[in-house]
Amino acid sequence: MGETVKLFVNSQEVEVAAGKNLIDALAVAGIQIPHFCYHPALGADGNCRMCLVEIEEGRPPVVPACKTPAMEGMKVVLDSAMIKKVQQDMLEFELINHPVDCPVCDQAGECDLQDYYMAYSLEESRMDVPQVNKKKKLDFGCGVVHDQERCVLCGRCVRFTRQITETGELGIVNRTDAARVDIFPGKPLDNRYALNIVDLCPVGAMTSSDFRFKQRAWFLTRDKGVCHGCAKGCNMYIDHHREKYGDDIIYRYRARTNLQVNGYFICDEGRMSYHLQNNDRQTETIVGGASVSFDDGIKAVVEKLNQAKKPLMIVSPNSTVGQMWAVLRIATLYGGDVSGYSDGYIIEGSGDDYLIHEDKSANRRGLELLAIKQDRAHLLETLGNADLVLNFDNDFHFSAHDIEVAKLLSEKDYVAICSHRLTAFETASVVIPIASYSEYDGVIINHDDVIQRFSRAVHKNNPPKDIVEITRLLGGAITDWKRAWPGIRQTISLLREVEPDQIPEEGMKLMNSGEPDVTA
């Protein structure tokens, strides 16, 4: 906290950061001021009037907290009869035409209107005239479904399309009780961040067609995760749940605020990438086309490794630093080469200047720092020499231009250690299932040299093993990536000062980034 100011809230002295508005400043101190339209990413609009607070001896005495900066000696009153009346009246006003269809609303359980009603109002409706009916279940495009009746007209969505994506597809049309959010006729939402509107909407007016009716919000376990969709490493919440008699599956990703990496939002592509965590997963261990037990599969791989003269290990640029390190160690053990060839992950022109990066791998910096060769020539050379190939979840077929590699590969004894059923692993003689990034923990370094730690979110009924564990079963000495950290730290000079348990939640910018300094 930089500069601070002291002010009084309900005659209690509170010290808060200077230069912020009252909502943000007091939220840090644990004091919540109800609000609909204000969002730190979108700025104060002041249209919902829900955040009105009383300033003692102030002119005017009642001000919107979102537009009032915290100032020294300010006397804020939140619990006076007038403020309570204001809040109650505002809620009554918002609820006049609200359909109160919470039972069928996906927002129920994480709805600000619901929470505020329970906290500040609890009044019966006094409406004795028919409610204004508006349109429901409008498809706004990009998987956003709009319900005009539930809308409180805070305008967050409109401001998002104008300020953040600068596409401006949404607007508020009409006035008074006929006012509603709408798209321009025939011009639905069309941007790569549209689903953030669902997160932004304080009520159930904007819902996601993907998540629609899938699960109630209160059943979901919200774990923190880091998106592995591109080199940005956006922070997100992994909302998952285990139904009775079912398996633990992910229902959605939501943006998690991290001002150092992604700000308040994530892209739609990353948001939808949770499907890949649930679907197309490799669950069987396969040896020579037949499904066998996991232990037998490991036995087969160990046998192959013992017979191989020159094995080649291919690491994925999505693996954590610890996993890459574990593969390096086991390659040394068996006298093999290591390649991190993954040009296919880079899709030219797919990025933008906001959150989407054209490199679709999460930890390429890790490969670089560990000095794992990524060039095609090295791969082709080592592949030619090798008599056994172990692929640790590296998807060659991410793009189409590696048919040559695939052909060369098909001539070798090929072991795929993979989390998903992909064409890249189809020719393998042995397939070992492993955990995907929602099922293990570790650290990754994004393109901007921010090291981020993430922990395990999903616990499957039959949890697949992590690459570190696989290398241990193959004879490696590393039991846990955190125990191996001293070795990693010695190898990578950039990480010399980094202790995994001390990496803050928002990640840590690695300093003196320069040439990789490898001694091992």
Partner: protein
């Protein structure tokens, strides 16, 4: 301190009571009285001859669940998951889906109750905002010869009618 103190007489302290035997014989006299009364005439037993004589069920009896219907025959349930949320034995499993009949937006695609897990507490009925689930089917004997049949779905749940008329039920519940 307005607590009322009631002194309870402690029995079993006198000499004859300490002998036990006398008290035991008194107790045995009571039980043998019952024995001979029933032996002489077994028509006064305090038992119901169950499978033939069915017990009378009040509207408040919590029997097997049923899902109620609107008058047009559409299901009242909107798959809000309130019953599933409140179920202490987690025996209700709902899958929601899009509803096209215009009654609401949402309806259950799958509504399963595992009767082996159900403890018949009636919390689902209390939680339901639509009066869509009730336990007034009057079915109190839920039996089956295999586990699979104890998992009942929508078809079985909407099948039984209410065992009581609406007024009686409302009186009983309210």
């Amino acid at each position: 301190m307005g607590a009322k103190i009631k002194v309870v007489e402690r029995k079993g302290k006198t000499f004859f009571e300490q002998l036990y035997l006398i008290e035991i014989f008194k107790g045995m006299a009571v039980t043998v009285g019952h024995f001979f009364r029933n032996l002489r005439d077994n028509s006064n037993l305090y038992v119901r001859h169950y499978p033939e004589v069915k017990p009378e069920i009040t509207p408040r009896w919590r029997g097997r669940h049923r899902l109620t219907l609107h008058e047009d025959g559409s299901i009242k349930c909107v798959a809000c998951f309130m019953c599933q949320t409140n179920c202490p034995s987690e025996c209700i499993m709902i899958e929601a889906g899009e509803r096209e009949d215009g009654v609401s937006e949402k309806m259950p695609v799958k509504f399963e109750i595992d009767l082996l897990e159900c403890i018949y507490c009636g919390y689902c009925v209390e939680a339901c905002p639509m009066d869509a689930i009730r336990m007034d089917s009057g079915v109190f004997s839920v039996t089956s010869s295999n586990r699979e049949n104890m998992m009942i779905g929508i078809a079985e749940l909407i099948e039984p009618p209410g065992a009581f008329n609406e007024d009686e039920y409302q009186k009983g519940v309210g």
